[in-house]
């Protein structure tokens, strides 16, 4: 499974658990508009770390949190394997 589809699947799973109704997940959708609160993002980052072995937001020196869904996915795609 591609990194992108892993990330999207995790977002959808957490949305289901948290009873969040997601809009269509386009790359330029701002993370704010996903309806996720900080707890939901924290869960997302923790689960993706378990699945992919990386937490790009703790590892990266430029730890700025991404603004859009596309940025978020790329943060995982750009981690050197």
């Amino acid at each position: 499974m591609s990194v992108r589809s892993k990330v999207i699947e995790a977002i959808q799973q957490i949305a289901k658990e948290q009873h969040v109704t997601l809009p269509a997940l386009s790359d330029d959708l701002s993370l704010h508009e996903t309806g996720f609160d900080s707890l939901a993002f924290a869960i997302l980052v923790a689960r993706l770390e378990d699945e992919t072995g990386v937490d790009p937001f703790t590892v990266s020196e430029d730890a700025a949190f991404p603004a859009t869904v596309g940025d978020f996915v790329r943060a995982y795609e750009n981690v050197p394997a």
Binding site: Q18, F41, A42, V45, A46, R47, D55, F65
Partner: protein
């Protein structure tokens, strides 16, 4: 001379000593002639009035030395096997130790102690002695880090709950415990066995659980105690089916409904009770209705034990508490009114109080305080879960999140793991605030339990 009579352990042993034993995996000692035998090579007289460190590598000789020393030594300090050797000097200084009972005399040869007594089995014959004084029993607290605190007890305080219950009815019990008898929970069982006219089967940390259970059976153990973690391990081991005790007791950790129900199912003919006790607060109470928590009307004064809840934590005042912390910089053990603050946080729901966790065990989740035990109790309610541990994990988003490690019950199909995980999460969401719901659940084969029998919480 003395204002009232002093009873030492030897005076409590009872008139009838025949047929009673103290045993471990290797050795069984008959109590029949115990009062005219010595584990100290006949050197008890030399220890009269001394402050004695009991530093032995096994429980059997420790227990025999306690019987001999109580009422003769001024103080005896019980060393549990997991005492960090790096803390020994501080403990010795704080307790004013001036004599050592050991089974490794060579180790103590050049330590400056003038009085080193070696403990031996088999026992040797000696003349019985008379109780001279009320010996102070020093016990170490089981905190996880730093130098342990020393709690001072008397035999009267240690046996208060046992004496209050009166002698056991029916045949003499054979007691066992998963605890070490040099810990408060284990010592209670050791004393209970002797005061109730029974026998005692000691645990052995190096023995496989199945072998331990076989030994409990062979010795006819009828009454047995341990922490909920000890009991969960037994329930997971598959060895419980071979064992049929009459009385099962839990203490030392929160007994949640899942473990109480699990024990009732495993031992349908046993009474299952949980007791609240700690090294400092002594024995508070026992709960025998099969339910977790305790009835709210236990607060107030009940059988000489006064309890109240202040700032969420249970406070206890009774003649069974330790009387002081011992040492140069020892903190006060009680508040000005004589109450011990247990640090155990309780919550009133309906007409019952429930333990939610330790004040010192709170984890911080995004600035909110969470008791891991409260989360574990909800997870443990799932029928496929045997044991769990909640902890915090760093999060770049919220600072911290809850994660849980879960051991599935025997026979749970690993293929159902995803389904079970979803059910656990549903259960948590229905019963816990959202920040307490685990973000991640991992299924694990084992969880660490400390030598004191408690779930290891190294990051708490």
């Amino acid at each position: 001379m003395s204002p009232r009579e002093i009873f030492a352990l030897r005076d409590h042993l009872g008139a009838e000593l025949k047929g009673r034993t103290l045993s471990d995996a290797q050795t069984s000692v008959s109590l029949t002639d115990i009062l005219s035998q010595t584990v100290l090579g006949g050197r008890l007289r030399e220890l009269s009035g001394r402050c004695v460190l009991l530093r032995l590598s096994d429980q059997l000789r420790s227990g025999l030395a306690m019987i001999e020393l109580d009422g003769i030594a001024r103080r005896m300090l019980l060393c549990p096997p997991d005492l960090n050797p790096a803390h020994l000097d501080a403990v010795i200084a704080d307790a004013g130790i001036d004599a050592v009972v050991t089974d490794e005399p060579d180790r103590w040869a050049n330590t400056g102690f003038a009085l080193i007594v070696t403990a031996h089995v088999p026992l040797q014959a000696t003349a019985p002695v008379k109780t001279e004084r009320a010996t102070e029993w020093l016990m170490l607290t089981s905190g996880t880090s730093g130098v342990p605190k020393i709690a001072g007890h008397t035999l009267e305080a240690l046996t208060g709950a046992i004496v209050a219950e009166g002698p056991a009815r029916g045949p003499a019990p054979v007691w066992a415990t998963f605890y070490d008898i040099r810990r408060y929970g284990g010592l209670q069982i050791f004393l209970r066995a002797f005061l109730s006219g029974g026998s005692m089967v000691l645990s052995d940390p190096h023995e496989a659980l199945a072998d331990h259970v076989a030994r409990l059976n062979a010795r006819g153990v009828s009454h047995i105690s341990g922490t909920p973690s000890h009991w969960r391990k037994l329930l997971m081991s598959g060895s419980a089916a071979q064992f049929a005790p009459g009385y099962v007791r839990l203490s030392g950790e929160i007994a949640d409904q899942a473990v109480l129900d699990g024990l009732k199912a495993a031992f349908p003919n046993a009474s299952v009770g949980h007791a609240y006790a700690s090294t400092e607060a002594g024995v508070g109470f026992a709960v025998n209705d099969g339910l977790e928590g305790f009835p709210a009307d236990y607060l107030g004064n009940r059988n000489g034990v006064e309890m109240k809840v202040v700032d969420g934590s249970l406070r206890i005042r009774s003649t069974r508490t330790a009387h002081a912390y011992i040492g140069r910089n020892a903190a006060a053990l009680t508040d000005a009114d004589g109450f011990v603050d247990s640090g155990d946080i309780v919550e009133l729901r309906g007409d019952r109080y429930y333990f939610v966790g330790r004040r010192g065990g709170i984890i911080n989740i995004g600035g909110l305080k969470v008791h891991p035990e409260e989360i574990e109790a909800v997870i443990n309610r799932h029928p496929d879960v045997r044991m769990s541990r909640a902890k915090s994990r760093r999060s770049p988003i919220t600072g911290g999140i809850v994660v849980a490690d879960v051991i599935l019950a025997d026979g749970s199909d690993p293929a159902r793991a995803k389904e079970i995980r979803d059910q656990i999460l549903d259960q948590c969401r229905a019963q816990l605030a959202s920040h307490k719901v685990p973000a991640v659940i991992r299924f694990v084969e084992a969880l660490d339990v400390t030598p004191a029998g408690k779930l290891a919480r190294t990051d708490a």
